[in-house]
């Protein structure tokens, strides 16, 4: 019964950790890479709750190497967003998979300045990095586009 095992393994895997849900059955939807991508290293969150920039030890994100990011978070007024809960995810929209690692914040270096360890882009191409940032009852998402293994990766 490999199909049965596979199905329930996928279900169980999908539900590990959390389980409040909408009673529906959806998959992520693959997206083709847009002709032009915003490769900014500083972005505002979707609703403007915060802004964030990232920096790396290298010019571009390395491929197939576990590395770290540093994030600088500010609030709507430009003040450091300190003490926020930060989750980071990376996905390849064309391929519907994420990283092989679970990245997480390892330290708040200074107010609003955090280090993220465990980033690993194991394939070349277009990646979308999603930041889920919350503080008290405030919460928002921000997105970075990055290109891996293509010779250029971001704009200033």
């Amino acid at each position: 019964m490999p199909h049965l095992k596979g199905f329930f393994a996928a279900v169980c895997f999908a539900m590990m950790g959390s389980s409040a849900l909408a009673l529906d059955a959806f998959n992520k939807v693959a997206k083709a890479r847009p002709q032009t991508l915003d490769l900014s290293t500083i972005v505002a969150s979707r609703g403007g709750f915060f802004s964030v920039s990232y920096s790396l030890e290298t010019e571009c994100p390395p491929m197939n190497k576990i590395h770290s990011w540093e994030l600088l978070l500010t609030d709507r007024e430009g003040n450091p967003l300190d003490g926020a809960d930060v989750s980071i995810f990376a996905d390849m929209p064309e391929h519907l998979h994420g990283m092989t690692t679970q990245a997480q914040v390892s330290a708040e270096l200074s107010p609003g300045h955090v280090r993220v360890d465990g980033m690993n882009f194991h394939m070349p191409g277009w990646w979308v990095i999603t930041l889920d940032v919350s503080k008290k009852r405030g919460r928002d998402l921000a997105y970075f586009n990055v290109l891996v293994g293509e010779g250029f990766c971001h704009s200033e």
Binding site: L21, A22, K28, R46, D132, D140
Partner: protein, 399 residues
């Protein structure tokens, strides 16, 4: 209402559906999940103080109706609806004896949308209303919903998401109506004798069967709202065509926004709207932006898109929450035939509410009004989207 008062109520008057001494009233499926109790994000739209005040006053004044508020009742649902300013909502019954649900139970395939399960849930409505009567009422029609608004109670509009409960016996619709059912989808994701579901292969999406046309006619006669939320777009169109009354697409995405199967085509939406029907945009992140995370701004983008396609008089909202339920409880081993489960849907991604920032549970409804204010909608149009269109549809069909 607090959990403490729930416990007191349970101790003083143990309802039929509250087995044992569980202070949670028997609904312990996922009580530790953050958004059973936590309020949704106070989403920062960048509103001015004047805009915030306008949104707050307007939201308090209008009828807010959610055409798929919950699938599994849990006591904090009432608190969450009150915090979000939700007047009433369609609550799904009969998925599998949901009012008798305990963590020890698993949902077996023979229960799934069965007549027995629906009857059990409908029979428990009076007990539910008695137990939580200070804060909740069962709303069977338009007037009841207005009464709930007047009394500051949360209204539950009894609904089902499949008509498989009738088998081949259409008279069961009358029995279900008499027990309180007021809205039912013609099919779930998979097809049945009556209608083709959204997960059906495109070449097999037959729309409505002859039995299905009879079911629609019977529902019209009874005053039961015909719903096609999970149906295929051909079913939505055919139901709108044969129904003497406007129909509901309770909760679906827009195919022209995100191309996934649980969505309505623009063509189908226009047919439904032309006959006076209403579409509820659901809150599932993957339906809104194709991923497992989104914000309430994405929700509003989809609502605006629907308004542009079908018109301001034909769009509402529908959460499609099942906050206290885990997937283990829905498709527990070992009873489920994998072929049956696979036909219902592909669960490689099962989106959970944590992923919808600003709409993590029903308490986020006020964020929709706040966001519509930010986007420049008039009070009249906000009232339509937040419940007015559903209220008009309920008045036209149920009474």
């Amino acid at each position: 209402m607090s959990l403490t008062s729930c416990a007191a109520l349970a101790a003083a008057q143990t309802p039929l559906w509250a087995a044992g001494s569980d202070p949670y009233g028997g609904f312990s499926g996922n009580k530790d999940h953050k958004y059973v109790k936590a309020l949704a994000t106070d989403y920062d739209f960048g509103l001015t103080p004047e805009e915030e005040e306008r949104a707050k006053e307007l939201h308090a004044k209008i009828v807010v109706f959610d055409n798929l508020a919950e699938v599994c009742f849990y006591p904090e649902f009432i608190d969450n609806c009150k915090a979000g300013g939700v007047t009433a909502g369609n609550m799904t019954l009969g998925l599998a004896d949901m009012f008798g649900f305990t963590p020890e139970k698993s949902i077996q395939p023979e229960q799934f949308w069965s007549w027995e399960a629906l009857k059990l849930d409908l029979a428990r409505l009076p007990s539910l209303a008695r137990t939580f009567g200070d804060d909740l009422m069962i709303t069977y029609n338009h007037a009841d919903i207005l009464q709930a608004k007047k009394e500051g109670k949360v209204g539950i509009f009894p609904g089902a998401q499949n008509t498989t409960f009738i088998g081949r016996d259409v008279s069961r619709l009358k029995q279900a109506y008499d027990m309180g059912l007021r809205i039912s989808q013609l099919s779930y994701n998979d097809s049945n004798f009556i209608a083709s579901g959204s997960a059906e292969k495109p070449e097999a999406q037959f729309g409505l069967s002859a039995l299905g046309e009879r079911v629609v006619g019977t529902m019209n006669d009874l005053g039961m709202l015909v719903d096609t939320g999970h149906c295929s777009s051909p079913t939505m169109m055919r139901a709108a065509e044969v129904s003497e009354k406007p129909i509901s697409v309770s909760h679906a995405g827009m195919r022209s926004k995100v191309d996934q199967f649980r969505s309505i085509t623009d063509e189908a939406f226009k047919v439904v709207a032309d006959k006076g029907g209403v579409l509820g945009i659901l809150s599932t992140p993957s339906a809104l932006n194709g991923t497992d995370r989104c914000t309430v701004d994405d929700y509003l983008d989809n609502i605006e898109h629907a308004v542009n396609v079908g018109g301001i008089d034909h769009v509402g909202y529908a959460s499609d929450f099942s906050i206290p339920l885990t997937i283990d409880h829905i498709f527990s081993l070992p009873g489920w035939d994998p072929e049956v489960a696979a036909r219902i849907g592909d669960f490689a991604v099962w989106p959970w509410s944590d992923g919808h920032v600003g709409y993590e549970n029903n308490s986020g409804a006020i964020n929709l009004t706040r966001g519509l204010v930010k986007r420049g909608y008039s009070d009249e149009d906000i009232a339509k989207i937040m419940g007015g269109n559903w209220m008009r549809l309920i008045a036209d069909t149920v009474g």
